[in-house]
């Protein structure tokens, strides 16, 4: 998406979509809160599902914008920070979702709780968010683990799950734009196929890489390896 016209089109579509989704969110919330009259339990159930799906659509549009931005050719600004803290912030946002799904959410970091690296905080936040989001969506039982570790030169951000895994056939295409694994589609979770593409772009912008290991039916592990200094 290096073409400025394409980026502008995406921005306009994203703006329109977000505005419509926000209107829907407000009305659904008013209905759920009984502001527009009393609703019965069945209506409430359907409205809650619609509200949740609407929120997911908001996330998808955000992903779309993220992909547009991550494809831009301009370099990122890097600031030295404690990436363990960034991971902790993201993880907190997923605690309620993990609990609802009955998945244990675990965090591994060095004993002193410090991994200093020069990163773009927002982009790293987005990448961890994307990896955790995927892991939770495609894990039915067991655990999702985030770890932030380091060696002398590199920072490692790893998300491991005990989820549905990726088939051998799908492995080669997993970072392609708009690609979704056949078993991921079958699970009927909303997904754009943009998430991992965006994660890879973010890693590249940090002069790093993303790798993964996965076994169908057993789980996956995604690792971002990024240099600590630029």
């Amino acid at each position: 998406m290096n073409n400025p016209e394409q980026r502008d089109t995406i921005s306009i579509i994203a703006h329109e979509l977000r505005t419509s989704l926000l209107g829907a969110k407000w009305v659904l919330k008013m209905l759920l809160d009984g502001d527009l009259g009393e609703i019965n339990d069945k209506q409430k159930l359907f409205l809650e599902k619609t509200f949740k799906n609407n929120e997911k659509m908001v996330d998808l549009v955000t992903e779309l914008v993220e992909v547009g931005h991550s494809s831009e050719s301009k370099p990122l600004d890097f600031t030295e920070m404690n990436v363990v803290e960034v991971g902790k912030d993201v993880l907190e946002d997923f605690e309620a979702d993990a609990q609802n799904r009955g998945i244990s959410l675990e965090y591994t970091s060095p004993v002193d709780g410090i991994v200093l690296a020069e990163v773009n905080k927002n982009k790293i936040h987005s990448a961890i968010q994307e990896l955790l989001n995927n892991a939770l969506k495609y894990t039915e039982k067991g655990s999702v683990q985030l770890s932030v570790t380091e060696d002398n030169d590199n920072l490692f951000i790893r998300v491991t799950d005990s989820g549905i895994g990726i088939s051998e056939e799908d492995k080669a295409k997993i970072f392609e734009k708009f690609f979704r694994g056949s078993n991921a589609e079958a699970k009927e979770e909303i997904g754009s196929g943009l998430g991992l593409f965006a994660v890879e772009k973010i890693a590249e912008k940090h002069k790093g890489s993303v790798s993964f290991e996965s076994e169908l039916g057993k789980g996956s592990s995604f690792t971002m390896t990024l240099p600590k200094k630029h």
Partner: protein, 123 residues
């Protein structure tokens, strides 16, 4: 909050209507503007106690409106809440540097939460 007057500058009439109804139900006097031009005319003719400002308007950017309002002011600064889809750090930074009282990213707010933010500026 009786007697407090707020201007909603928002080009999406659906959102504008929902926000206006909500704030009216909270006891505020609400006026709306769908373009930057209409907003600036409105602000020249009437005094407001607060403004909700969208950034992506069909004619003038919300950033320019904010800048113009702040340049016109002398002592009392009117609370201006930016309410926008733009969620980039650089936009948030720019909005706050230009003098916005707060910067609210639309997707993160329900109508109740928006009303809470507005009520807070009057406390």
């Amino acid at each position: 909050m009786e007697g407090k007057k707020i201007l909603i500058i928002e080009d999406d009439t659906f959102l504008q209507g929902l926000a206006a109804n909500k704030l009216q139900s909270e006891g505020l006097e609400v006026n709306t503007a769908s373009t930057g031009e209409a907003a600036l005319t409105e602000l020249s003719n009437q005094t407001y106690d607060a403004i909700i400002l969208d950034l992506m308007l069909p004619d003038i950017s919300g950033f320019d409106i904010l800048k113009q309002i702040r340049e016109r002011e002398t002592n009392n600064k009117i609370p201006i809440l930016i309410f926008s889809n733009l969620s980039d750090d650089k936009d948030i930074k720019r909005g706050l540097e230009l003098g916005a009282t707060d910067y609210l990213v639309k997707a993160n707010f329900t109508l109740d939460e928006l009303a809470e933010k507005v009520m807070k500026v009057f406390k």
